[in-house]
């Protein structure tokens, strides 16, 4: 195979893998005025035949993004932190209020309801997916 084909092939493989991970309905909850972080939610489906790991999320609108989970043990609300998170093949996952969610720290600008914010998801095998998340009030 001609050398030039390798990068092309690599690009095609990455693109195929990206198509096999679907991220939908991403939204960011608007925060009260004195709070300098936001919670983010989305749905994700791994349509591939392999497990994938979400390693990082970045955005030009935030300084730092982490994966958290709200859990309850005996009516006590607690927070768990995850370095990365695995998605099994064929499974759909809900990152929703009161469960798994993104913590978006240090917003670079004031976010208003209706704003759109790009989120870049980085997975294993160098798969990158960018989605637009809508800023919404929780009561909407």
């Amino acid at each position: 195979m001609h050398l030039i084909l390798y990068p092309v092939l690599a690009f095609i493989i990455t693109a195929c893998q990206a198509n096999e991970i679907i991220i939908a309905n991403a939204w960011i909850a608007q925060s009260p005025p004195m709070i300098d972080f936001n919670a983010g939610y989305f749905e994700i489906k791994n349509q591939s035949t392999m497990p994938v790991s979400l390693l990082a999320i970045t955005s030009p609108a935030f300084g730092k993004i982490e994966i958290h989970r709200s859990v309850e043990e005996g009516q006590i609300s607690k927070m768990q932190y995850f370095e990365s998170i695995d998605f099994l093949p064929g499974e759909k996952y809900d990152f929703s209020p009161g469960g798994y969610h993104l913590m978006l720290f240090d917003p670079t600008r004031v976010l208003k309801s209706g704003d759109s914010v790009p989120l870049q998801f980085s997975f294993t095998e160098a798969v990158q997916i960018q989605v637009m998340a809508t800023v919404k009030s929780r009561s909407d």
Binding site: P32, F37, E72, Q75, S77, F105
Partner: protein, 217 residues
């Protein structure tokens, strides 16, 4: 063996006993209804915990103690303004509950109270901004740690401050249940998670109606 007279006597005694029991049951006022009327599942009755003296500060800088609980039904929930996920959800639900109480015309008799378990960071100003963002009809309670603890310990709420992160911020684990206090400042019920406005408000109406028949508020 027993004679015929003995059989007749025993028979008569049994008949009279059954008759007597029937009269007893019949004449006891509301025999069945009474026991049912004094019991409601999930309500700490007839021995609710009396809330004693405590001193907190509301988000408008006014003292809030046991006197401010008296004369109104109070629904208390505990959290902190830096709480990223669960507290904003509960605040939104409580705002919905407040609207339902207004619709039902009982808002004068009730108050919704958000008590911070992070009083050092949640100053009155910060609480006020937080409350006003979600629903200015809710009352925020804070003060010094000692003041907040004087209420928290009586209700049985637990909270635990986590290790500070790189930026100095920290998370707080805390009780997520809601607490219903009657107009005589007694803890009468606890609402477990998951919360939703419909369940909270209908439960409140049921308990209020149940206890109002037993107590002259």
């Amino acid at each position: 063996m027993f004679s015929e007279t003995t059989f007749k006597t025993i028979g008569l005694i049994i008949v009279l006993m059954i008759f007597g029991m029937a009269i007893g049951i019949y004449t006891t006022p509301n025999f069945r209804e009474k026991s049912a009327d004094e019991y409601m599942e999930g309500v700490f009755w007839p021995n609710p915990k009396q809330i004693g003296q405590f001193e907190t500060m509301d988000h408008q800088g006014r003292n809030f103690g046991v006197e401010q609980l008296k004369g109104k039904w109070s629904i208390l929930f505990f959290g902190y303004t830096y709480c990223p996920d669960v507290c904003p959800i509960t605040m939104t639900i409580m705002s919905d509950v407040q609207a339902r109480l207004e619709q039902a015309g009982v808002v004068e008799d009730a108050q919704l109270l958000f008590v911070t378990v992070d009083p050092l960071r949640d100053t009155a100003d910060r609480l006020a901004t937080y409350i006003n963002y979600f629903d200015s009809r809710i009352l925020g309670l804070g003060g010094t740690k000692q003041q907040v603890d004087s209420l928290v310990s009586q209700i049985g709420v637990v909270y635990l401050h986590g290790m500070p992160m790189d930026d100095g911020n920290y998370l707080v684990d805390h009780t997520a249940s809601l607490f219903l206090i009657d107009p005589d400042a007694r803890l009468v019920s606890i609402f477990s998670t998951p919360h939703d406005a419909e369940t909270i408000s209908s439960r409140f109406f049921e308990i209020k109606s149940f206890l109002s028949k037993l107590v002259q508020y």
